[in-house]
Structures are given as structure tokens and as C-alpha cells.
Amino acid sequence: MEIDPFIFRLSIFILSIFIGYYVVWSVTPSLHTPLMSVTNAISSVIIVGAIIAALAGKTEAIFNSSSIFGFLAIILAAVNIFGGFLVTQRMLQMYKKKKDKK
Amino acid sequence: MIVGSTKEDVSLEKRVALTPDSAKNIIGLGLKICIEKDYATHIGIKDEEFQKVGVDIKSSSKEILSSCNLLIKVNCPLENEITNLKDKTIIIGMLNPSLNKKKLNEILKKDIKIFSLELLPRITRAQSMDVLSSQSNLAGYRAVIDSIFEYEKAIPMMMTAAGTVPAAKVLVIGAGVAGLQAIATAKRLGAIVSATDVRSASKEQVESLGGKFLSVEQAEDMETSGGYAKEVSKDYKKKQAELMKQALIKNDIVICTALIPGKPAPRILTEELVKLMKPGSIIYDLAAEQGGNSAFSEAGKINFVEGVKIIGVKNLMNRLPLTASSLYSKNLFSFIRNLYSREKKDFNLNLEDEIINKTMIKEN
């Protein structure tokens, strides 16, 4: 009587949706832009899939048809990861400076 | 039981002891009322208005004095009235016992009970009869209106195309009932108001009206258990004078209301202090009749000293006779209600009652 893991994943998925819902409501509107940029950065966790795609092939042919897509995806996601987090950092830094000035 | 009231000397006193409103209330207690003809016409209340609520109009004061059981007045009865008073009458009014000692003693010789409402104890139950409160309150208001009328500049700040008119600065000395109302009124008009008093409780009260409190440093609290002020020490006086010096240079209008019951008014503004003020300034001394808080102040006169106008007040209530009468008359009604027993259909001079006991004038 084992339960299909899919159902567990579905539970996780649905619960996460709730969390997403609540998290945003509690963000102050003035931080909506940084919020957008952080969620953007986070969504590049897709890189996990990209790495698997790129690496999981046979060792001999590094660049086979499917791993090439993996590698491309890695670049794209990496741009987003670095860019996203850094830009967020810059934005938040700005908020901080203003605060400190006083 | 008949309640009567005769006209005051209108040249000195414009208030009346009875208004149609409270006449109605008194009649509601089960009493009858008669008053003299043209009782309040000088302040615009026609005899018909009294008649409408059931008051008897008599053509002469004699008729009234000879028939009434209770005589209500604003001030002490006039000489000729006293002679006409019959025995067993009760008199209620603001009789100023210290000033009218002789007159009152004369009346007491007959079998007459006199109640003077200034003597009311300041207990909660007596608040609705408290003539000092009701009249001082109006005095505080009127003091500001009068001094602003005399003041040759505008009070509120106005920033206009032709330049800025600065707000006038008003200092209120003594923050009792009159002082507080003066603060409120001046504040309303846009003046910058500060005030001082010897009672430390008054700081919060002044601030509750948006005024600034000037406190004499390290001062003890000068409040008696009755809520009145005590006379202050020499040291205190010196410190207060120092404080006043600073304040008078800055202020445009000073309203003096400081009193100590049973004593002459404290002299707070000395001659030198007065002379510190800017020309055009005003000192309005509500305490003038009790000796004045300010040098140069004389009751009923306006004196000029180096450009400062010192206004000594006399009979201020004649400036607001309507409102003052209406409040006074309500005070009287409350007092009568406490005195009269509906069951016995008679006045009940219960000397256990603090209110009745303390206001009654005993011969001395």
C-alpha cells in the first residue's frame, strides 16, 4: 500500500503555493520591486535541471544534442542568478543608505 | 411659598437674578414667583416673556418685598428695600459679605436668613450652584475680548502679500477658572498663550488647553485642600518676579486673574515690571476690585504708563449681562432646589447640609 511519490510532490506543490500567497501579502509595498527581482533570481533554480541535463549524459560525448541544451540553459540561468541577486543587493543597499543618513 | 425678585440698581448692575428659563424651573418646583415691572427690559427681556411662564408682575418693589418668602437678588438689597423686608424672609444672592457687613448685619436683626452664594463650598454637589465658577468663567472670556478690543494690533498671525503680521503674545497670570477660560479664548483667536500659577496642578490644566506654562522653579505647591491658592513666601515672590521679567518683555497682553480667597489679590506686577512692557501693550487686571495684581491698576479705570494700557476691571459682567444672568439664574435655581422641600412645601434650612450651612451668613 505504498503511496505514489507524485502525490507527495503534489502536496508539496500545493503547500508551497499557499506559502507564496502569504509571503507576498506580508511584504511592504515599498519593497515590491526588490521582491520582484528576488523572486526572479530565485526562479533560476531551474539551473538544477540545466546541470542535470548537461552533466548526466555519457562522459564520452560531452556535447550531445541534449546536453547542449543543458549547457545553454546553464548560461541563461547563471546570468539570471548572478544578475538577479546582485541587482537586488544594489537596490536594498540604496534603501539602507537613505536610512543611515539620518 | 412665593419667590420674589426686585430690580437691581441698573446703573451699576445689569445682570438679573431671574430669567424666564429658570423662572419656569422654579415654578416647576411648586413655587410662585413675582417680580418687579420692567425687571429685565434693559437687557432685552420683556415682561411678557416672564408672564408667559407664569410669573406675576408687580408694579412696585414694595409689593414684592412684603409678600415674598424668598427674595433672590444679584447684589445686596438696596437700602430702601431693606426697610421694606418682612420677617422670616430668606434672601439669596451674591451679597459680598465682607464688603456689605454693615448692611447685612442690619438685615440679620430682623428674623431673616441670608445666603450668600460666594461662600459655597467647592464640593462636587455644589458645582451647579457655583456662582464663582459660572461668573469667573465668563469673566475670563470677556477679559480677552475686551483686551483685544483695546489692543491696537491684530492678534492672529497672518502671512500676507503686504508682509507678516506676527501673532500677539498673551500672558495669563493665575490659571483658575477665569484664567483657563482666558487662555482658551486667546488661543482660539490665534495668540501665543502662556500662563503661570502657584498651584502645580494648573500646569497640566494650562497645557490641556494648548497654553504654555511658566513655572516658578523649585516651588512648593501652593494649593489649599479646598483647591484655592495660599499666599506665597518672599522667596517665591522673588523668583516669580524674575520669571515675570522675562515674560513681560515678550508679551503683548497680560491678563491678571490671580486671587487668594479672603485676602487682597497678590501684587504680582510691580511698577518696574509694568514699565518693562513694550508701548502699546495691555494689562487687563481682573483682580482690580480685590486690589489688583498689577501696579497702576484701578478698578473701573484705564491708566497709561509709558505706553502701556493698564485696564482695571469693574463690573465686568455688565458687558455680558445676558449670558451672565442666565448662568447666575440657573445657579440660583439649583440652590433653591436644594433648599426647598417639595413634601413639606417649605424651605428646609437643614444645617447639616454643608451647602446650606456654609453659605448662610451668621451675625458677627
Binding site: 507564496g20 507576498v24 520582484m36 526572479n40 533560476s44 542535470i52 546536453s67 549547457f71 | 492672529p156
Partner: protein
Amino acid sequence: MLSANLSAIFYLISGILFILALRGLSSPDTSRQGNYFGITGMVIAIIVTFLSVGNFSTSLIYVLIFLLIGGAIGAFIAFKIPMTAMPELVAGFHSLVGLAAVFVAISAFLSPEIFNLGVTGDIKLASLIEMSIGAAVGAITFSGSIIAFLKLRGIMSGAPITFFGQHYLNLLLGLGVFALIFYLCISQLGSIFWILIAISFLIGVLLIIPIGGADMPVVISMLNSYSGWAAAGIGFTLENSALIITGALVGSSGAILSYIMCKAMNRSFFSVILGGFGADSSKQKTEDKKEKPVKSGNAEDAAFLMKNASSVIIVPGYGMAVAQAQHALREMVDKLKKNEIKVSYAIHPVAGRMPGHMNVLLAEANVPYDEVFELEDINNDFANADVAFVIGANDVTNPVAKTDPQSPIFGMPVLDVEKCKSVLFVKRSLSPGYAGIDNELFYKENTLMLFADAKKMTEDIVKNLE
């Protein structure tokens, strides 16, 4: 190589760190901490992936190289981009995520073996559905973000592009996507997969072109949400809970955020999201604007600006009197002063409609006299102040009085509010004041218009100053 269980736990941890990252944003104080949580989560996810794949061959080096190339580009962009270009940057980044999702899906479709999804031509049904949804949503995200980017960047006109039958076309294409997925599941044909992706690209374009520039922030947040759903889809395919958690998180938070923004802008959520429906109203909007662009904000923006200022000058005018906003204003100032912000009132000699009009009202609201200054005394202070809060005043701030001899108000001294770092104008519209002339300050770079009744707006700001 990491055991499946262990890596699942680590993925869970990184998912939780992402949740904490978003949570950090709930207040400015914890926001940077939140960002660090996000970074940590990402690092964990990447390392765990490396370890769980366990393939430490040369390809690993390539992966690292590509990672660094991408990272370098990202970092470069992040440092170079001006802060004002934020919205288009985010839109651009979204397109990358979308495309990456498409690529991963393609890769999975091409070599299902390496993901344990069966073999080519016989991919597990569930996985096939999941990956096609991931690919389709990813493709929509990509092309949609590109359009949004172009519009924001100004390369493409911001005006909504609409044509007859747009909605029906969209509907048709949407149904087509479902049909294709269904057919794909039956046939497992590669060509259909490619067609699916192509159509999704098209849908992305069609969805965004009818949306006007004003609604772009909502669109960006919505695309954000799409990219999340795409990631979740891929997550199901790869049976990876980090992806599922994060995808769902981003998906729902993005959707809610766009909803919140719509509400704040008083726009219907559905008409914005369904694209074309927003067209009419945005067209009308652009006409209203008299061609000159104004920046208009809301109470939150105003509160934020003032909270972070060190000095604010209040400039009241007739509008404050009309709105009887003096009490609310006083309250606002009290709040600011509590934050140790210096506040003064600048009273123009003819502000209002009667000499001393402002003084009467400020005195009524118990504003201390020593905070109220006349024009000459305060005019030099504007240059050093951070914010000028102009409430219902207009003519008395109009610089035309200094510059244009033809103007009816030429020669009148005016308050130099434009010298402040930011100017907030509270009024109901762009209409002129007593003198009947336009005020060029409304269109200045450092001006933010707050269109509302002065009392209402001030009260709202008070709320936002907490």
C-alpha cells in the same frame, strides 16, 4: 555521490531558504538578510545537484565554465544597469528563465533516459505532460518577457497593439496547446513537441502586445509568476522538490503580487492579465495625459520618500483649505517628526484666497508658530531639503513667475520648491490654480504627482507612515 534521500533533504532546505528569502522582504530591515538566504539556497541547490549527479568528469569543468560565463555577464549587467532601468531589467531576466526552462524541457525530451523518464519514444505519460507544460509555459514566459522588455526599453512602442479577433486567436491558440499536448502523449512524436514550443512562443507575444505601457509592472510580475510555474513543471518532470517548491512559491507570489498591484492601481486584474481587454482603457489614458508625461505616485510612495528624508518642507495652498486637510496634515507632520525628520511649513504670502488663509487653518490644527515660515525666511532652505510636500498649492510654486515676463503671474515671488531633491504635489488633477496657468513643475524629473483629494491623500500617507 549523494544519496537520493540526502539530496532530497538538501533540496528541501534550499526550498526553505527561498521561502525565508521572500519573507525577509517583508520589512526593509530584514530585506538584505533575505537576499542572503536566497543566495545560500541557490548555492546549496547547485552544489547538491553537482554531488547528486556525481559525474566529476571533464563535463563538470565545462559546466563550471558556462556557469561562470553566465555569472560574469549577469554580474556585469547588474553593476552597469542604472537603477531607473530596473523594470526592463527584470523583464529581460525573466525571458532568460523562461528560455532556460524550455531548454531543460527539450533536453529531457531528447534524452529522457538520463532523467529516468523512460526512453525516447516512450516517455512516461506523467513526465511527458509535465515537461510539455513546463516547455509551453517557459516559452510563453520567454517571448512575453521579450516583448515587455522591448516595450519598456522604448524599442517597441508602449502603446497597446490590438487587432480584430485577437481574443479569439488567443483562445484558439490556447486550445491548440492543449490539443497538441494531448496528441503528443498519444504519439510521442518529436515534431509535435517542437510545434508546441513554437505556438507557445507565439502566444507569449500575442499576450503581451495588447498591454499598454502603464500596466507593464503588473505584466512583469505576472511573467514572473509564469516563470515560476514553468520551473514547477520542470520540477515535477525531474522529480526535484527544490524546483517544485520554488516554482510554486514564485508562481503564486508573482500572481498575487500582480493582483495586489492591480488593486493598488485600481485596474481589473483579469483585463490586465488577459491582455487585450486592457486596451481600451489604456488608450484613453494616454489621451488624457496631454502628451507631457507626469510621474504619478500613491500614498505609499510618498510615505516612503518622506520617511527616508531628513528634512521636509510643507507648502500648503488653497487646495488644503478646500479639502480641510489641515488636521490630517498636522498628524502627518507629527508622524514625521517622530521619525526625527525636520519639518517646516513654508507659507507663501498669497497662498489661499485671503490674506493669512493658511495661518488660520494651521493655527486651528495647532501647528506651532515656530514651524511656520514666510517666503523670504524659508526660500533658501528648499535647496537643502529632501522633500517639498506641496499640498493643494499651485500658483505659488510656479517657476514661470520667475522666468516668463508674458505670464500673468510674472514678478510674483514664488517658493523655490523645485530645488528640493523631490517634490510631491498633492492635487486632484493637472488643472491649473487661481491664475489659470499650467505649472511646468508637474512634469519635472524630480516631481511626483499625488492625484487625490488633499485630505484623503494625507490620511493615506499617515497610514503608510507607520
